[in-house]
């Protein structure tokens, strides 16, 4: 919206501030001036305004001038337009509001023998040519420009009809279904039974509050004019406008609430301009009103306002005097409120001779009558906001509230931080991917089929459902990197996954991780090696080791069991189980998927893509492990290596379990040092180098003891099918 400072100043004769200062003062009071464009010597500036939708009353020159008057405590020139006396009309022009639920007021004035011509500056307060010139507003004719001028001046839509095209009087009514109306934009419209129209006794003339009609528009031949200024109900106008895909200045205002009392003023302004080039008024202003709407707008009940409440909500000001009763009164009065003071308590019994200090700080309250143009003001808090706003937000002090409570972190905050730090330590960057995926992706990653939640208005087909898993997003991000020739990828994401139905949606926190490429990073001096299953497993083990869990194990199922998630290679993936509960899955992406889907780039690189998920809601049920130190033995540890040969069917888990069962306290550690397969071994066999460490807390181990331990180890691994390599 554009505002001329020259026009503002016409309403504010006492305004001393320059255009720049005025713009800043308005902006800091919520009437935002977005841009200031100087118009040249003596013409002032043009403001580009950005006014919030609740302040529709300020989207015009008089409204902005009223704000400036309140800020500076200036007098605002009243909007009054002298009209010549009317010639009697017999009978008076007929206006009937049939749609009493949608039209609150309709004023009509008949002007006869007018001359339709060009606009110019008519009189003080009607500088149509000058202001339109500066605003670059197109001039059409004195009649049309007069209604536009009233709109720009005071934000009240008005309309001029060619009176001779009107048959009978005016009826404001709902349209008849299928009724036709050609609007001013030249479009022939078929009306809906819900549309609100201004009609005559035969036909619809205009879409009420939205747009005038073609057939009754002012032309060069027009001699007699009917000036309409009305008040229409917001919802009725919004629905009519929306049904016809229209958004006009008039509909914008009516949808947000117009000033019930503005219609006669706008009508007078339009009439005065038009009569300046000849003609006369026939009859008095016809003013049809619906009492129910008047009560809800222009005759609202006063609102009680207590000064103590102003202070309770707003607090301290930089100026120690604070907000006085006089200051509150002057702000609200300037904005158009009428205040009736109600002194309560002791001071009420002695209304005279109250000392000045008591007058400002004593228990004061008011009954505040609200201005008809401020439908956004309804409650005490609205008035408090007005006081704060016009007083100036930045004149309030910066204070801090008193505080006596403890601070609670989320119960899982520490666990989340632990998981994040393990993943970062393992060299994974944290990523955030889309909350959405395609229905197909949802189908092959959902834990329970049929529990994928679809969007009613998805952004696109690829984003049609709420992700049931972070895996599609992870694969998309991996693919994105590969497509940009970033070939070493290690990412993790902590995010929400969704499942459920239209009735109820469950949200669970999940950790996803994905990797492809080199580990460690390629360098000139170290041999490259591809990141593999065991790198991921290590990260999972480390993450789990931050939690208190007596049992953690990894397993897998044969492909035909159908228990492995579809996106994983059935023989290169593992389920993670902690305390008997499945807490995740990870492994190589199923080759079928890797080839078919977006990660095909990885296949070209001959790299295997690794991906996994941990179900954090389950993991977070475990307490975090708090480190506990134990005494480190000062006696020499002894290492013994065993080169074992095993059948392919014997997994490390078997050897590991057998070693654990030995329960030798001095056997403090055993680990796999090497796994190798070579031709010299028997068919279906592999070799494993087992390293053991023995140490006692209280003594140096003797050779006989060690020999006994070794014998028992060979025996126990022998029992599960491993033999010593010779």
């Amino acid at each position: 919206m554009k505002i001329l400072t020259q026009w503002l100043r016409a309403y504010l004769p006492g305004l001393a501030s320059g255009d720049k200062q005025l713009a800043e003062d308005l902006t800091l009071r919520g009437i935002a001036v977005d841009g200031i464009y100087p118009l040249g010597e003596g013409d002032g500036s043009l403001y580009e305004m950005d006014i919030t939708t609740n302040r529709v009353d300020a989207m015009n020159h008089y409204g902005v001038a009223r704000e400036a008057a309140a800020i500076y405590g200036l007098d605002l020139k009243p909007l009054e337009f002298a009209l010549p006396a009317a010639q009697p009309a017999a009978p008076p022009f007929s206006v009937r509001i049939e749609a009493e639920d949608a039209c609150g007021r309709f004023t009509a004035r008949v002007l006869r023998d007018v001359t339709i011509g060009e606009s110019r500056d008519w009189f003080a307060g009607a500088e149509v040519a000058t202001y339109f010139g500066l605003l670059e507003q197109k001039m059409i004719s004195n009649a049309v420009d007069a209604t536009n001028f009233a709109w720009l001046a005071m934000g009240q839509p008005a309309h001029a009809f060619d009176l001779d095209k009107i048959e009978g009087g005016i009826v404001v009514r709902r349209a008849r279904k299928g009724e036709r109306l050609k609007t001013l934009d030249g479009v022939e419209r078929v009306l809906d039974a819900e549309d609100l129209v201004v009609a005559d006794h035969k036909k619809a003339l205009a879409l009420a509050g939205v747009m005038g009609g073609w057939d009754t528009m002012i032309t060069a031949e027009t001699k007699n004019v009917l000036i309409e200024a009305a008040w229409f109900e917001p919802m009725a106008v919004r629905q009519t406008a929306r049904r016809h895909g229209l958004h006009t200045d008039a509909s914008h205002r009516f949808e947000r609430g117009a000033d019930f009392n503005a219609a006669p003023v706008a009508s007078a302004l339009v009439s005065a301009i038009l009569l300046a080039s000849g003609g006369w008024i026939e009859g008095e202003l016809v003013d049809a009103r619906v009492a129910a709407f008047e009560e809800r707008t222009a005759r609202r009940r006063p609102v009680a306002l207590a000064l103590s409440e102003v202070h309770r909500i707003l607090g301290a000001t930089e100026n120690p005097v604070g907000i006085t009763a006089a200051a509150a009164e002057s702000v609200l009065t300037a904005l158009g409120c009428k205040l009736a003071s109600q002194r309560v308590g002791a001071s009420a019994s002695q209304p005279h001779a109250a000392p000045a200090a008591e007058q400002t700080l004593g228990p004061v309250s008011w009954q505040v009558t609200l201005p008809s143009w401020r439908l956004d003001l309804e409650r005490e808090i609205d008035l408090i906001e007005e006081i704060a706003r016009v007083y100036g937000y930045n004149r309030f002090a910066n204070t801090l509230p008193a505080f006596g409570e403890g601070v609670k972190a989320l119960p899982w905050a520490e666990k989340e931080a632990a998981v994040r730090s393990v993943l970062r330590g393992a060299g994974f960057h944290e990523a955030i991917s889309s909350t959405f995926c395609s229905a197909a992706e949802g189908a092959w990653t959902a834990a329970q089929p049929g529990q994928v939640v679809a969007l009613g208005n998805p952004l696109s087909e690829e984003a049609g459902v709420l992700r049931p898993s972070l895996v599609p997003g992870m694969l998309t991000m991996i693919a994105g990197n590969l497509n940009r020739d970033v070939n070493d990828v290690r990412l993790f994401e902590l995010g929400t996954v969704f499942s459920g139905t239209a009735e109820k949606v469950d949200e669970r926190p999940v950790l996803a991780f994905g990797a492809v490429g080199s580990f460690p990073d390629e360098s000139a001096l170290h041999e490259r090696r591809a990141i593999d299953f065991y790198d991921l497993k290590g990260a999972v083990e480390q993450a789990l080791s931050r939690f208190e869990a007596r049992s953690v194990y990894f397993d897998r199922f044969p492909a035909e069991a159908g228990l492995t998630p579809e996106w994983l290679h059935p023989y290169r993936a593992a389920r993670v189980v902690a305390e008997g509960v499945t807490v995740g899955w990870f492994g190589e992406v199923h080759p079928r998927l890797a080839a078919e889907r977006k990660v095909a780039a990885a296949a070209k690189l001959k790299e295997r893509v690794l991906v996994g998920e941990l179900y954090l809601d389950r993991l977070y049920k475990l307490p975090l492990r708090s480190p506990a130190a134990r005494e480190i033995s000062r006696f020499q540890p002894v290492r013994r290596d065993f080169s074992l040969v095993l059948g392919e069917g014997i997994a490390w888990e078997t050897i590991d379990a057998a070693m654990a069962e030995l329960q030798i306290p001095e056997l403090v550690e055993w680990q796999v040092r090497e796994v190798f397969r070579e031709a010299r071994l028997g068919a279906g066999e592999y070799a494993l180098l087992l390293r053991t460490t023995f140490q006692a807390a209280d003594r140096t181990l003797r050779e006989e003891e060690l020999a006994d331990f070794q014998r028992r180890i060979v025996e126990t691994v022998g029992n599960v099918g491993a033999r010593l390599r010779t």
């Binding site: 607090g315 000001t317 937000y393 309030f396 204070t399 994040r420 393992a426 955030i432 969007l455 994105g480």
Partner: protein
Amino acid sequence: MRNEAIPNLTAFDEAALDEAFAALERQAREAAAALGGEADREAFRLEWLGRKQGRLNEVSGRWLKAAPAEAKKALGVRFNALKAVVEGLLDAALGAGPSDAALQTEAIDITLPGTRRLLGAEHPITRTMNEIVAVFAALGYSVGVGPEVETDYYNFESMNFPPGHPARDTQDTLVIAAQERKPLRDRLLLRTHTSPVQMRTMEQQPPPVRIVIPGKVHRNDAADATHSPIFHQVEGLCVDTNVTFSDLKGTLDHAMKALFGPAVKTRFFPSFFPFTEPSADVQISCIFCGGKGCRKCKDSGWIELLGCGMVDPAVFAFAAQKQPAYDPRKISGFAFGMGVERIAMMKYGISEIGSFYAGDMRFLGQFA
């Protein structure tokens, strides 16, 4: 290098002894100075201190034996001194380690790049969110969260959005499918702000409340350089007796100084949000130019950063349905909300909001 043979001593007066021992010490020092690697040191040790053929052994054998009784003591003193010198020379040679020449053969190119173990980076959104939360935790705010799929009641109705408010339109809000048959308040949607957690928190605990709410939100927005259908907010709520607008100002002024540096100034503008009144937009003095005006702040010297206001009594009335202590005549409070992406973009000089969600290793690696 060979040393001269040990001469036979003929005179045993003090001067003669001094001269003889000085000659030996000179030879030892010369020999020690020329020592190279370990082999040299071992040869030196054998030559001088060797138990059988060492030169000191020879001295003690030949000179002491030949010395008259009255000269033996003077000779012994000098012998011990010489032995100490030789031992000292050997220790010094041992302590010096391998010679420079030997070490030079092991030289490496120290200008080759170091091998860096890749450290995972915290996502800039997580990082920024944590920073904001930490600032408010220090002011006594607990952390709260809520679901991303919300009901119309929590997202809109209880936040005082009137029916028919444009934000409720599917043009602005992403909705869950098949909700049409439900009453409006029960319809599920993706929360458009973190504000519903205000209501959820108040329903669960009576005042005082001091809570900060980080979270992901969604809107039906077309993606461009600064808009994304997915973004993050941090919301704050403080409710108690006697919480005022000046407290809101002081709190946010402090928080902005903590986040952006003590020189930052704040400015409050009237604004409009359905769930606060009075409502304000907060600007901070431009962190790039210090307020002088630059391209980043469009020459205004100010950057708009967050929205806030005093909790609207209507919102308290909704909370009071479950917790009667939220009586707007007795308590008051403020709420604020800020976009995490916007702050992160400003702090780290990021120009495309989409970078946050692409998972590009090169982008994320910069935050390690």
